[in-house]
Amino acid sequence: MSRQIKAKKSAWQKKPLHKRIGIILAHAVLALFAFLWLIPIFWVILTSFRATKGSYSSTFIPTAFSLDNYIKLFTDFSVFNFPQMLLNTLIVAAATCVLSTFFVISVAYTLSRLRFKSRKPLMNVAMIINLFPGFMSMIANYYIFKMLGWTNGPLLRLAMIAVYSGGAGLGYHIAKGFFDTIPIALDEAAMLDGCTKWNVLKKIIMPLSKPIIVFTLLNSFAGPFKDFMLAKILCGPNKDYFTVAVGMYQMLEREYIDQWFCSFAAAAVIISIPVASLFLTTQKYYSIGFSGSVKG
C-alpha cells in the first residue's frame, strides 16, 4: 500500500511544473462549475429550513433556521394533507411499477427475440404514436374513465394506475437494447433441447435480465411522483386521492404561496430523497443501451 502511494507521489513529482499547475487549475474549474451547478439544489434545501415564511427573501441564505416547515407538512391539514398524498403516491407508484415493468419487458423481449410478420410495422407504429404530444390524450383519458365510471371513489386509483402504465409498452427501447445483447446461441441451445419459447423466456432469459428488470421497476416507480398534470385532471374534486405533485403545485397558488412556500421546499426535499436514490442506483443502466449495441 505504501509502495503505491510512494509510486503515485513520485509520478506526481515527475510531472513538469506547468502540467501540475494545469491539473490543479482543471480541478479548481471543475469544483467551481460543480458548485454553481448545484446552487438551485442548495437553495431549495436552505429555503426548506427558513424560519420566515413567504416567497420573498432579501437574503440568499436565510437569517433564521427552523424545522417548522417540515412539521407543518405533517401536522397542518387545513389545506393539504401531505402524509395522505404521500401514501396515495406510494400506492399508485408501487402498482404502476409492477404493471409497467411487465408491459415493457413483454414488448421488449418480443420485439427483440421473436420474428413475426407485423414486427416491423408495430415498431413503426410505436414510433409514430410517440410523436404526438403526450397530453393530447390527457383530457380525453378523463372522459374515457368517466364513461367507465372510474372517476370517483377508490376506482380513481385504478384509473391513475391505468393511465401511468397503460402506454408503458411504448417505452421499450432501452430494455430491447439490453435483450439484443444476450447471445441468441443460448436460446437456440435451449430450443434444440426441446424448450418452448415461453420456457426459454422463463428459465433462461429472465434470470439474466435482473439488471434491466430492476432498472425498469425503479424508473417507472418514480413516474407518479413527478406528474402534476394528469393526476390533477383525473382527481378533480376528490381531494383524498391527490398525489404529492398535485398538492405541491397547488401550494404555489396565490392564496397559499405566502404560508406554504417554504413548506413547498420542504416537500420537495422529502420527495427528492426516494426519487434521487432510485435514480442514482440505476444510473449505470442508462449507458447499457448504447455500449451494448456497440459490443453486439
Binding site: S55, S106, S137, Y143, A162, V275, Y286
Partner: protein
C-alpha cells in the same frame, strides 16, 4: 445459422379464393369453419365474440354512429314550476359524449372486422390442416402454440390493449376535435358541429391572427429544438471528456454531483428556478446584495434573455443524461485506436476530431434524433419557468412558447379545443417531417465502412 421462416398464415383474400364454401360462410357466421372441422372451443369463442359485437351494434352502435354525423342537436330544456317556485331542467344532447361514443363504436367496428378476418383465416387454415393431416389442431394444441411459436400473441396482447385504450383512442378522440368547432367561442361547448378543414385553413394562412401566431411559434419551436439538442449534446460530451481526462481524480464524485440535479423531480427544480430568476428572486437579490448589479437582471422579462435563459435551464436539466450516456460510450471506445494515434504522433485535438467525435456521432445518432423530437415536445422546461412569456404573440401565445405549451394554453386555459387539436396535429406533422429528414440524413452518414 439457418433463418427460420415464420409461419404467418395466408392472407384473407387468398383464403377466400382458395377456400371452400365453409370459408366463405365463416365470414358471415364466425367460427363456423372451425366448428365444422371439430375445433369446438375455438368455434364457440368466435361465435360468442360475434354475438357480443352484434348485440352491441344493435343496442347502441347504430344509434351512436347516427348521432355522430350531426353531433347532437337537442339543447337543454327548462320549465318553470310555479308551485315549487323552481325551474326544472331536462338535459339535452352533449356533443362531447356523442363524439366519444361514436369513436368507441367505430373502434369496435374495426375490432369486429379484424375478428371477421381472423375467422376466415382460421377456417382456411383448419381446412388446410384437415387436408394435410386429416385433422385440425385441437384447442390444447392451440394453447401450446401460444406459448411457443405464437408467443408474441400472448405477450403483446395486454400491452397493445393498454396502448390502444389509453393512448391511441384518446389521441383519435382529441384529434377529431380539430374537425369540429368545439370551443368556448360562440358558445360551442355543449353542442358543436363538424366543420371539416376550416380550422386547418385558418392555422396555416399567413394572414389572420391565428396563422401568424402559428408560424411565429413554429419558428421559435424549431430554433429551440435545434439549440437545445445540440447544446446539451456538445456540452455533455465536453464535460464527459473533461472528467474522463486521465489526470482528473475522483471521477465518480464529479459525475455524481453533476447528475444529482436530475435526481430531484423536474417540476420542483423548474418551479424553483422560476422563483429564483424573477426580478425579486433569489439570484437577483444575491447579486444586488453583493453589489455586482444595480437593476435586476431581466432573466424572464426580456425576450432575448428569456430565450437564452430557457436554453441554459434546459442544459442544466439535460446535460446529466448526456453525461451518463457519453461516459458509457467513451469508456467503451477501444483503447488501441488511441494508442495507435499517439504512436503516429497525433495531438489531443486530432484524436478528438478523427476518433472520438465520429465514433460518438455514429453511436448516438438515434439518441440525437429522439432528443430532438423530445425537445420539440419539451413542455416542462418552458411552461414552468418562463410560462411562455415575456411578450405576448397574438392573444394566446408568448414569445418563448413552444407549440406544445401553446397547445396547453389553448385547451386548458382558454378552452379553444378545436384550435388546440389542430396545433396538436400540426406538432405531429412537424415532428414526422423532422424525423424523416434526420433519418434520411443519418442513413447516409452511417457509413460503417467509412468508419472502419
Amino acid at each position: 445459422m439457418k433463418k427460420k421462416a415464420y409461419n404467418s398464415g395466408t392472407g384473407m383474400l387468398t383464403a377466400l379464393r382458395k377456400g371452400s364454401l365453409w370459408v366463405w360462410l365463416s365470414a358471415l357466421i364466425w367460427g363456423l369453419g372451425n366448428l365444422v372441422k371439430r375445433q369446438f372451443v375455438k368455434g364457440m369463442l368466435f361465435l360468442a365474440a360475434e354475438a357480443g359485437v352484434v348485440l352491441f351494434t344493435v343496442q347502441s352502435g347504430l344509434y351512436n354512429l347516427d348521432k355522430l354525423t350531426t353531433l347532437g342537436i337537442v339543447a337543454q330544456q327548462k320549465v318553470w314550476n310555479d308551485e315549487k317556485s323552481i325551474f326544472e331542467y331536462v338535459d339535452g344532447d352533449r356533443s362531447l359524449n356523442i363524439l366519444l361514443y361514436g369513436i368507441i363504436t367505430l373502434a369496435i367496428v374495426v375490432f369486429g372486422l379484424l375478428l371477421l378476418r381472423a375467422s376466415v383465416k382460421s377456417a382456411y387454415s383448419a381446412e388446410q390442416s384437415w387436408k394435410k393431416h386429416g385433422r385440425a389442431p385441437t384447442f390444447e394444441q392451440d394453447i401450446k402454440a401460444l406459448l411457443d411459436e405464437r408467443l408474441q400473441f400472448s405477450l403483446l396482447s395486454l400491452p397493445i390493449l393498454g396502448v390502444i385504450a389509453f393512448i391511441l383512442l384518446p389521441l383519435i378522440f382529441m384529434s377529431s376535435m380539430a374537425f369540429t368547432n368545439y370551443s368556448v367561442l360562440d358558445s360551442k361547448l355543449v353542442l358543436f358541429d363538424w366543420v371539416g378543414l376550416k380550422n386547418f385553413a385558418r392555422t396555416l394562412s399567413m394572414n389572420g391572427s391565428l396563422g401568424s401566431t402559428f408560424w411565429s411559434v413554429l419558428g421559435w419551436t424549431l430554433v429551440w429544438a435545434l439549440a437545445a439538442t445540440f447544446s446539451n449534446y456538445i456540452l455533455g460530451m465536453l464535460l464527459a471528456l473533461f472528467i474522463n481526462w486521465k489526470e482528473i481524480r475522483l471521477k465518480k464524485f464529479w459525475r455524481f454531483t453533476f447528475v444529482l440535479t436530475v435526481a430531484v423531480p423536474h417540476f420542483v427544480t423548474l418551479l424553483i428556478m422560476r422563483q429564483m430568476l424573477q426580478p425579486n428572486g433569489a439570484i437577483n437579490v444575491l447579486l444586488q446584495n453583493m453589489g455586482w448589479i444595480k437593476e435586476p437582471l431581466p432573466f424572464f422579462t426580456d425576450t432575448m434573455w428569456a430565450r437564452i435563459t430557457v436554453i441554459l435551464i434546459n442544459i442544466w436539466v439535460g446535460v446529466p443524461y448526456t453525461l451518463l450516456q457519453t461516459t458509457g460510450i467513451l469508456q467503451s471506445i477501444p483503447q488501441e485506436l488511441y494508442e495507435s494515434a499517439r504512436v503516429d504522433g497525433a495531438n489531443p485535438f486530432v484524436t478528438f476530431f478523427k476518433i472520438t467525435l465520429p465514433y460518438m456521432l455514429f453511436v448516438t445518432t438515434p439518441y440525437l434524433i429522439t432528443s430532438f423530437t423530445g425537445n420539440i415536445n419539451n413542455f416542462n422546461v418552458i411552461y414552468l419557468t418562463s410560462t411562455g412569456m415575456p411578450r405576448a404573440v397574438g392573444s394566446t401565445a408568448g414569445d418563448t412558447d413552444l407549440l406544445i405549451t401553446w397547445l396547453y394554453k389553448l385547451t386548458i386555459d382558454n378552452q379553444y379545443y378545436d384550435v388546440g387539436a389542430v396545433i396538436g396535429i400540426m406538432t405531429f406533422v412537424t415532428l414526422s417531417i423532422a424525423s424523416l429528414l434526420t433519418f434520411r440524413f443519418s442513413g447516409s452518414y452511417r457509413n460503417e465502412e467509412g468508419f472502419r
